[in-house]
Amino acid sequence: MTINNENKNNGETASSAESSINLEASRRNFIFGSVAAAGLTVAPGMMLYQTANARSLSDFSLKDGASSKVRWGMLVNTTKEVDWNKCVEACNKEHGLGNEKDSRDDQKTQYIRVVDVKNKGTGYSMSLPVMCQHCENAPCVDVCPTGASMKRADGIVLVDRHRCIGCRYCMMACPYKARSFVHEVLTDQTENTPRGKGCVESCNMCVSRIDNGQEPACVEASEGAIIFGDLNDPETPIAKILAKHGGKQIRADLKLNPGVHYQGI
């Protein structure tokens, strides 16, 4: 197994084409991390030791819990010709969504959706995936009376399903309509996403995958159009592209500082 952090060595500039190169770097970095993690793990979620200087996904596995040195984020490039529905399908599969039997369409859970946007004046239109934006100043976390809606130290916004009382105030507060309420009894949930009637849920950035050194499911399915990584580490591809080309946040005017950034919106 060769340990080779290409990402740090390459001096590529980040144009649209380059971002995919960087993404490849990110992937390699990530794959390396996963393999390393697998090699060093004695039991699921428990690691013996970590590599010295590579800040890859596996460095932030469950051993030490989530670290506030990290801020996980995503960068969505909406200019790429991608079938965003593949991301939706991957998400649904990963989290076992779409298994409602009785709920109306407007009651069914969606963690990620494809939003079509059109400028009435110019006629310009685009599509983009919208999921929980994992805000730094998350309104859902602020308003939750029990603290069930919470932000992990690494910036991932989650719902503690054992604490959620189903008041739905977080859904009222979220400007991105990112949350869903489970309207019926569910069975056959996936192992990593314990969903249940009467609780609120939303995209958790595939936290269990991240904790296992994997990328979120939508990122994996996005054919390179979504980059995932640590926004705090200037050496990560996501941080480099954002530093060089910038990105936009949806409703940036609300100053919630989402962890999900977009290009081309």
């Binding site: 109306r104 407007d106 079509d116 189903g166 009222m172 507060a173 400007p175 309509k177 309420f181 009467g198």
Partner: protein, 400 residues
Amino acid sequence: MKKLHFLEVEGNTKGFYSFLGLFGLISLIGVLAAYYMEHNGHWVTGMSNQVIWGTPHVFAIFLIVAASGALNIASISSVFAKTSYKPLARLSGILAISLLSGGLVVLLLDLGRPDRLIVAMTQFNFVSIFTWNILLYTGFMGIVGIYLWTMMDRPYNNLTKKAGMAAFIWRLILTTGTGSIFGFLIAREAYDSALLAPMFIIMSFSFGLAFFLLFLMGSYKYTQRELGDYIVNRLKNLLGVFVAAVLYFVIIYHVTNLYSADHRGITQFILTSGGIYTFLFWVVQIALGSLVPLALLYGPTGNNRTMVGTASVLIILGGLAQLYVIIIGGQAYPMQLFPGMEVSSSFYDGVVAVYAPSLPEFLLGLGGVGVTLLLATIAIAAMKFLPASLSDEVADPHGK
């Protein structure tokens, strides 16, 4: 002025048991409706991921807002030393507690996980205005309880003014908190306004007094106790002032929203193009719930008890319509993910959400009103909340 004398309502009568049975039945139906919704999940309701809070919340928030308003009569007596309101202070306190209980029952039973009440009572997030409301509600019960005690236990009468002051301040904070549940939601255009907190306070004055007046007139009528014109006229004049004040806030709220371009959409939606919400606003809230009651209370019909009662009922219906428009209309209007752009998605972005209240939701809300009336009815039979007579000789401090 005759001496004021408080007396329990005779409990062992057919009439009393009829009311107890009726209110108990309404409460029971509400609980069964809640059980049905909880057992199946919220898919049996009209609520969705678009309209998150539905009819139960309209009733719950109405009752909670009215609770703090019902306490006003006691506050006017103890805090502002208006002796003519003193005979009504005890009823004012117990109605406040009953209304709050009814509202909280509805709020609790509509939770996705009402079985986790203990979590809500033990795990607090102090950044959340909801958490503060939980503390404000329980505190309100305690403070009004103490306030009632100082009123009803003679050795402690000298503490009434202090307890009344504490309760008055607490209720102002409480309604500010209730209004802020909405006022703190930056995401939704309908709610993003600091005006909501004071508007909720003045709404509480109006709804609470309308409910108080109805309960007062009803209980005196069915117990054949004397209720003089002096008290009723004072209360109905006060009620008219409150209705006008609510109207003032409604106008300011919409006019300021119309002025700012980013709030114009929701205001135009409510005022002109919102379908059921526009109808409820103009016809029920403004015409039937505000203008007609004002005419009834201040016009030549002002001395007619039936008309005062009708006005109070209309004010309550108008209040429910107002909260329906604020709560459900505010959610039905789409959130602006990309302001100025046309948006659409599988998650109903960019479209007005459809909401039709289901029967169980309505019955749960009504159940809250049943709980309120049940508690208040039991209370006036169990303890000395109502004066034996409120004839003008008793009530009018300047009377003979």
